[in-house]
Symmetry: C2
Subunit: 514 residues, 2 copies
Amino acid sequence: MTGPSRSGGRKGRRTARDAAPKRKVDYRNLRNPFPVMNLVSDDRVHAMHDAALEVLERLGLKVLLPEARRLLKAGGARVDDGAEMVFIGREMVEAALASAPKRFDARAGARHRDLTFELGRLMFQPGAGCPHATDLERGRRPGTAQDFRELVTLTQAFDVLHMVPPLVEPQDIAPHVRHYEMTRAQLTLSDKLPFVYARGTRQVRDAFEMISDFRGVSDAEFAAKSHCYTIINTNSPRVLDVTMAQGLIDFARAGQVSIVTPFTLMGAMAPITVAGAMTLSHAEALAAITLTQLARPGAPVCYGTFTSNVDMKSGAPAFGTPEHFKASLLAGQLARLIGLPWRSASGSAANLGDAQAANETQFGTWGCLLAGATVVIHAAGWLEGGLTVSYEKMITDLDVLQMVAELCAETPAGEDEIGLAALEEVRPGGHFFGAAHTMARYQTEFYRPLVGDWSNFGTWSERGAVDATTRATGIWQRIVEEKTGAPELEADRVAALEAFIARRTADGGAPPES
Amino acid sequence: MTGPSRSGGRKGRRTARDAAPKRKVDYRNLRNPFPVMNLVSDDRVHAMHDAALEVLERLGLKVLLPEARRLLKAGGARVDDGAEMVFIGREMVEAALASAPKRFDARAGARHRDLTFELGRLMFQPGAGCPHATDLERGRRPGTAQDFRELVTLTQAFDVLHMVPPLVEPQDIAPHVRHYEMTRAQLTLSDKLPFVYARGTRQVRDAFEMISDFRGVSDAEFAAKSHCYTIINTNSPRVLDVTMAQGLIDFARAGQVSIVTPFTLMGAMAPITVAGAMTLSHAEALAAITLTQLARPGAPVCYGTFTSNVDMKSGAPAFGTPEHFKASLLAGQLARLIGLPWRSASGSAANLGDAQAANETQFGTWGCLLAGATVVIHAAGWLEGGLTVSYEKMITDLDVLQMVAELCAETPAGEDEIGLAALEEVRPGGHFFGAAHTMARYQTEFYRPLVGDWSNFGTWSERGAVDATTRATGIWQRIVEEKTGAPELEADRVAALEAFIARRTADGGAPPES
């Protein structure tokens, strides 16, 4: 949606929309309109890239999965199986960067939801990976399947969110069948690109099968184009664990998207300097990208980083800080050096949706935007440094993302818009409310906020003096109730999906591997 | 201050500072580090400039002050005194733009507070011109002299606020002596560049005399360099009223800074299109600049705009919107075309310091930053579209401004910062908390937030689950109580100031003119 639904029900809304000229703003295919900001000079970026290559070649990386070590060894790496250490030469990295596609497409449930990953594009994801969910009605609680479904519905409702991430962990579903629930919810409640956790080959294969069956594509078609994606975190510093390494291999072989994201907190799992932390992050990302290209040359892989700082007194992670912003800028410079689409992240360490939370998230988002990030995750709803996803903060942050999306559209400034005739029509000291120039545009010219309230203090007080976060409750509740923008489903595909899940569940499911 | 004061009293704070290595971040002399964003192509900017010149030449401007019409007529304008209309030829505008300085200095109460106005610099002001003040302790009320003094003290306490604006209207002081109180408060509680309202020649001369006496400069020294500034709003569309025109003349003749700021709300006092509104704003600004240069060639004048949109249903003004952002970008393009330093504005229409308020203000600020604005006003504390200044929002917004200021400093990325030795020191899966590289920097590497709280949910809950706005109360209260960073005063100058005020007050003061 490109604005709030204020009328009841889907039919009611459609009628209201017909009555007023609809603003034609496409939030789906965004290109980053902001000039790219460099934090350091090009020679410093090259120095960091060189240092990262030296880290991989001389210091090495611990790779816990034997199959990954075998692949890397076959690719030319020096491997110490006893110590599980792998030393990757720079020529291997260069070969991987040569074969990794600079641009690739991902196919969603409907053609207008398909995505293209390449530098210059701009895609948003809401906050993800949270063990808890919170809203003003039900409070803070461990995430459930219901929370996951509701948050998928919210993600679906807004064009400015371009793919579905693992919003919240549905802890009420047993781990060996949780991936069924998460995949089912994404397929039936959204037609956007779904996410699959890399928690072992069996779960991943299950999800691939569910997606290809539900999308009605053959195995060959599935392999030829990406239909889902995962996010791979390295265990900084310099460890690639079993599950993550397996995920990189499984997704690459299946032609599905891996978004490689070392999570390097400055001063904790990474050097305290932004240049040092990004050098480590870059080294780990290059190692992961190399593994994908050894598993399948040309496999779609997205560069990424999640680098922020910690409170050096408590060790608590912080987000939306100046250091986080700088890390995004450096990551963007490194991403442009290697030419790959890349993911950055916003976020907040606040414990509720207050001014701190709003400011941190928006500040973090601007870091991503000026860094030229292709995918911006945790851009809406993320609290407590990712421990909780907030329904209300999702809505208040979405207002910002929609405002950013408005800036992606071209602004006309022809003779009609300069409007000399209108300037002539209105006498000095007059007003433009009734001018023909205004009348022709007043329903469509301006962005209408989702939750922002511009009424004056008296009116606002009479209406109960409700703050934005509290107002957001009604907005998400309406969307969850109406399933705004939910895809039309084909009954036979849903039935087949359910049958698959029932069969696999009866067979014992697929426990996560590690 | 570059962080919160947590210890008691000035002496206590100094001791605490001595104990820990102080972060050396200069928030005083900022250059805008962000790449400039253009909204439209150069030819469209030229078209807008040409349209503005045509507005001035063909449609004309209503100038209510006879002296201003005489000056403009003497400068070559066609004047219709009966209709109070002035038609300004483009050659007059070009001459004015040739004589207006591209760079000028303003002298504050201490050399480290002096300011330079030129494109590329970056200065912030808190919210200004508000009839009301609000804080969580005392509620929303008409502004008083106490509020004004307290807000000057808050402005003084933060290096990231570069000059004092007319924060709140001290409505408890009679209009004919109000300028004495406002000038006294600024001079005695701050050493930053003071603001003087253009409310008639007598008030302006009083303030000039108070400032030059208090600063200890001769009349010649005062005239040779700016020691204060004013803001001149045109009455859009196309009216320059008596007081504003007189202000432009008085300040120009005295060599003091006028910041010219048409306040053009799209769809209300200006065309609904951003290109149309900015064309009108530009025309009015050029007329005002022309008047200053006719009054005194070479007079310091700052270009400016305050262009946002209104809610087309209610007419209520909105700030921090996509349209506001775009207007800032266009104003920046026009400012660069004419080469003058310029002022833009942030702001919020929210009625309290909630997520909407935070998001609108930060969004508006980013519009100014990417537009390359030299002075950003209303960047902290402004609510209700300027009807109220909030003490708490001042603090929460200051955290954002300080984070922006952090990005103005160069980020080192030499071999030490890349830190290959640190990367080698920490084994795979280890951490950097104890690394020598970390220990050498942990007290100074990161920005420490003013009000942001990074503690985890449990700790934060135990401490009372206090939101950022509520936490801000304690921060401003401490600053107001301690008068953090207040200047040392010379008793004889204060006495002379008081004597001047007593004498002038006894003589009947100086009623505002209009």
